[in-house]
Every structure is written in structure tokens, then in C-alpha cells.
Subunit: 147 residues, 2 copies
Amino acid sequence: MSCIEISSIPGQKPMKITASLAIAATIFVMASPASAQFAKPEKAVEYRQSAMFSVGEHFSRLGAMVNGRVPFDAKAAIENAEIVAMISKLPAPAFGPDTEKITSRAKPEVWTQQAKFNEGYKQLVSDAEKMVAAAKTNDPDKLKVAF
Amino acid sequence: MSCIEISSIPGQKPMKITASLAIAATIFVMASPASAQFAKPEKAVEYRQSAMFSVGEHFSRLGAMVNGRVPFDAKAAIENAEIVAMISKLPAPAFGPDTEKITSRAKPEVWTQQAKFNEGYKQLVSDAEKMVAAAKTNDPDKLKVAF
């Protein structure tokens, strides 16, 4: 098991993504929603930060439920998981090589170990989708496992 | 026709939302995805700014296609419209009264004319959904009208 940090959420702790490297190294065609068309690299960085901030917010809400800080609410769990899954996919095209030199909390490994990063990212998206499926079972324990 | 500006996108021009006030003034229960649970008002402001930034980015991409700056791409049009429609809904709970005093580009009218704001917001969400439907026709002219 390996761990990649995607740390572009302003004002938040880096999000650790545990990625199984046992996954077959299939070519990862990143989901490129609406194809990357950033006016300039700074926009791409702001875009991924915005998306990761939104993801962080909804992931935290799931966390609050999973950790018992707020009561489990099946409907809210599904909504939060769906938002996390949907928005998680968006920043992929915003890690282009032209954004490497722009100051952000993204680690250099995003570009120096791109295959590993892509694998971790793919795992993140896959985990988020599993979380949606777990939330839809209405079973807090299944959600906890997926979380 | 009346016009409300939601202007909380950092570094962007205010987004004008044309809202028909002819719409029956039904009680607008704002779509409250995952119920508002912001740790503090500042988080709510950052949340809505992040969401509106993402919306602005994808709305611009649609605009580029509609205005012929980039070639029409049916798949990208649908993706962009769906992202706009999905994320547009998110900031609703982030305009709580506790956020009124926090410096942002949101106009005071958000709180002083709340019914009008809600109506405009509802219209925005409805328009975004119409844009998805228009994009799905694969007809650039229909998308242009909806845009």
C-alpha cells in the first residue's frame, strides 16, 4: 500500500489517499470532464483548489456521520457521497504540466511520479464511487468501511 | 424581468442571473444537499465561492462553444451543462444569515431581499437544468437559446 497526498485544499490538512499499487497498471485515461480548457495555468490551479475544497467539505460531513459526531442520516450520506464522487473527478485535467511551477500545495511528486499519482487519483475516484454504493445500502457500518 | 447578481466568484465578473418574477411565488425550499453543516460562517463563504468558481469555469466553456470561440462538441456540452446544473445547487445553504457580515462579493440584497434572491436562485437552478436538456438535443442552436 502506498500513500499519495493531494494537498491543494487551501486551509485544510492534506488529504491522504491510500492507493493499492497492486492494481493492474492499466493505462489510466483520466476522466476529462468537458475537456481541459483553462484560460491560463493559474485558473487550473484555482479550479482544482475550488473542487478539492468542495470535496473536502462533503467528505468531512460524511466523516462526521461515520465518526458519530452527527447522527447518521441516510439521505444526507448518499447526497454527500454523490457530491464527493462527482466533484472528485473534476480536477484531473487541472494537473497539467503547465501548472507544475505555480505555487500550490500540490507536491512535486504529482509531476515527478505521474504514473503513481494517476494511479492514486484513479483509486480515489473508484473509492468515492464505492462510498456512494455503500451509502446507498443505508447501513452506517458499510459506509464506515467504505469511508 | 429582474436581474440578481450573484457575485461571489473571486476574480470574476459578477454573474448576472435573469430571473422572471412572473413565476408563481411558491415557497422555495432550497435544495439543501447534505444539509448545511459549516464549521463556521467563513467556511460557508469559501464553500460558495469555490462552488461558484467551478460553475463559472464550466459555464464559460459552454459560452465558448455557444459563441463559436471553440467548435461545438456535443459530449463536452452535455458534461459542462451537467456540472453547472449539479454544482449550481450546492451553494444555496451557504448563504445563511450568519454569513451576511463576512466580506465577500455577495450583495447585501441577498439578505435584505431574500425572497427575490431565492426566486433568482431557483430560476438559476431551473435554467441550468434546461441547459442540460438543451445540450442533450445535440443541437447547438437549442443550446444557444438555453444559454
